[in-house]
């Protein structure tokens, strides 16, 4: 069964550094998402992406964050200047179609654990 692939599985970075988290969504999916999960807490929406542009973003997704689909297969999340509070598990998700959305659930990757020191 096709799956969403995320790399790296664990990223350690120093505060103020830039990080890029990478995702390869399922190949025929059109809608892409980033969520994050701070340890032991709920899964929080960051951003959704369709047709090479952001569809929706949350309050968390400020100017330090950006997303890109550079080559038609990868979907990346960049954090420009990491803060300690950015430490979390970051999940990429994709779905095939928007309508009817209940027939196209989100498929999540296994996440990238980001540790900012």
């Amino acid at each position: 069964e096709p799956e969403v692939t995320q790399t790296p599985s664990h990223q350690v970075t120093q505060m103020g550094q830039e990080v890029i988290l990478r995702c390869v969504p399922i190949s025929n999916h059109l809608y892409f998402y980033w969520y994050r999960q701070i340890l032991g807490q709920k899964v929080e929406f960051l951003v959704s992406f369709y047709n090479n542009e952001i569809s929706e973003k949350s309050e968390i997704f400020d100017d330090q964050f950006s997303v890109e689909r550079p080559d038609g297969s990868n979907f990346t999340l960049k954090i420009r200047s990491t803060k300690l509070e950015d430490s979390a598990m970051y999940f990429c998700a994709s779905t095939r179609q928007l309508e009817p959305h209940y027939n196209s659930p989100l498929h999540f990757g296994n996440g990238t654990r980001l540790t900012v020191t």
Binding site: V4, Y31, Y33, Y35, Q41, K42, V43, E44, F45, S48, Y50, S55, E56, F91, A93, L98, H101, Y102, P105, L106, H107, F108, G109, N110, G111
Partner: protein, 114 residues
Amino acid sequence: QQQVKQSPQSLIVQKGGISIINCAYENTAFDYFPWYQQFPGKGPALLIAIRPDVSEKKEGRFTISFNKSAKQFSLHIMDSQPGDSATYFCAASALSGGSYIPTFGRGTSLIVHP
């Protein structure tokens, strides 16, 4: 308005017992209510989902009960097994800015003792 409240935060059940997790929402625009199961080190995976035009959906040992008037829905796991030990998230989604964005509850850590 976008919040989904989930309880309990943790749940311990004996093998063979019934696990019940409850969720409540405020936003009447939500029109899809999935439950996700997450094992340690893995991403959430869709377990079962319901639309608000039905009051119950059953798939094997897993049942969603939905009360539209009360804006509540719950997951029942019958004959709970140790392999069901995981974190369970309820979610609700509605169209927002051109995308359907699932809003997740805080999660319930379920432990099923053998």
